[in-house]
């Protein structure tokens, strides 16, 4: 089958972001989505540390230590962007003003529960950042992740075994194998990669899938 690599997953997510959307891309894998937004469209990237209208990384040598993203990497500001403080920034997130956020995940459940901040491992030092605020606040939460762990276990599960980030918050899941919507009817498979049958996808997935009415191979 034609498994998507990380950049291909990011490009697939980017296709679902309409012009004019206010979007937060979580740290790690989701940051890649920014590289695949069509350059002609005006999409507003929000960074939790107080930036709206965030632009791409600066040219080497033009980094500004006061202009970084949530992952603490140097970024730029688009013309028309602006700065604000943390409470205002999280008001945007928690008040339902962001259209879309894209998050990585350890696990997503059949009902859209998200686990992405802690493996719950004994002795691990927990860190949560803004993930729970995004999960609770964005109008649509998209998850972007590998379908399987390195050990080959499904990250889509009937019920999360890792500590939760949010309950019933995930709207759509993008993996290297498929695009899956979390709906009231269940996990609807919107797309499968070329050469992957529904049955094979189901076999690799730890929760019951259903074909979406409009489902088709990508």
């Amino acid at each position: 089958m034609n498994r998507r690599n990380r950049n291909e997953i990011a490009a697939r997510v980017a296709r679902d972001i309409p012009e004019g959307s206010y979007v937060n891309l979580g740290i790690g894998l989701p940051t890649l989505v920014g590289n695949h937004l069509p350059p002609g469209l005006e999409i507003f990237l929000h960074s939790e540390n107080g930036i709206l209208g965030m632009g791409p990384a600066p040219a080497s040598g033009a980094e500004d230590p006061d202009l970084i993203n949530a992952g603490k990497q140097p970024v730029t500001l688009l013309t028309g962007g602006c700065y604000f403080h943390h409470a205002d920034s999280f008001a945007m997130m928690r008040g339902g003003h962001l259209d879309i956020c894209v998050l990585g995940a350890y696990q997503v459940s059949a009902t859209g529960d998200l686990a992405n901040w802690s493996t719950g491992e004994a002795g691990a030092i927990p860190a949560v950042g803004g993930a729970m605020d995004l999960a609770a606040g964005a109008k649509k939460v998209f998850v972007m992740m590998e379908h399987l762990t390195k050990a080959g276990e499904s990250k889509i599960v009937e019920r999360c075994t890792y500590p939760l980030t949010g309950i019933g918050c995930v709207k759509r899941i993008y993996t290297d194998l498929a695009v899956i919507d979390v709906t009231a009817r269940g996990l609807e498979v919107i797309e499968r990669v070329d050469g992957l049958s529904f049955e094979e996808l189901q076999r690799l997935t730890g929760a019951r899938l259903i074909p979406a009415p409009e489902a088709a191979a990508a």
């Binding site: 005006e42 209208g53 602006c82 008001a91 928690r94 003003h97």
Partner: protein, 229 residues
Amino acid sequence: MIDKTVAGIEEAVAGIHDGATVLMGGFGGAGQPAELIEGLIAQGAKNLTIVNNNAGNGDVGLAALLKARRVRKVICSFPRQADSYVFDALYRAGEVELELVPQGNLAERIRAAGAGIGAFFTPTAYGTPLAEGKETREIDGRHYVLEYPIRADFALIKAFRGDRWGNLVFRKAARNFGPVMAMAARCTIAQVDEIVPLGALDPEIVVTPGIFVHRVVRVASTRAADVAA
């Protein structure tokens, strides 16, 4: 290209539906979106709930909207004024409902709606008639009253300058309720003295980021020549 500017007042107030809750900026005349309110009167929506610091003055603006019998309920902190006779008469006749809210609770409840807060404990009004029937709690030796967000369908506000992304700056004390109201409505409509090109507003001084603003309409200022000061 995203362009939130609209050509005129009529377009700006389009879609405000009967029964809508509408936040209205301004403290006295400062920051009052007078032309948007006139537009709302012409547009015809009725059975409105209006949230404003006051309840109208003289025969213009909110008073005219009240006079036209479009308002079911007013949520405000200070209805009674020397020239609030339109509201006064309707209220005495039982034709408009009043929810009186201390001014700080008003601002904070509007902000809470914008910030996703479900409810908050406020020290204001504890032990007074305005807290009657409300949940109270003692926290760390102080008494508080539980207050809920004021969410709205529309906000009509007045700013000084705006751009096509909806970024706004205000002028002096005309800022007042504008920034918090912009956060709390599903559709925020701003009248501005001037529409400036994208990038003309320094990113450090934008008061209301465009994410909170949905329509921007230019209204020639009726202020004196000092407007650009």
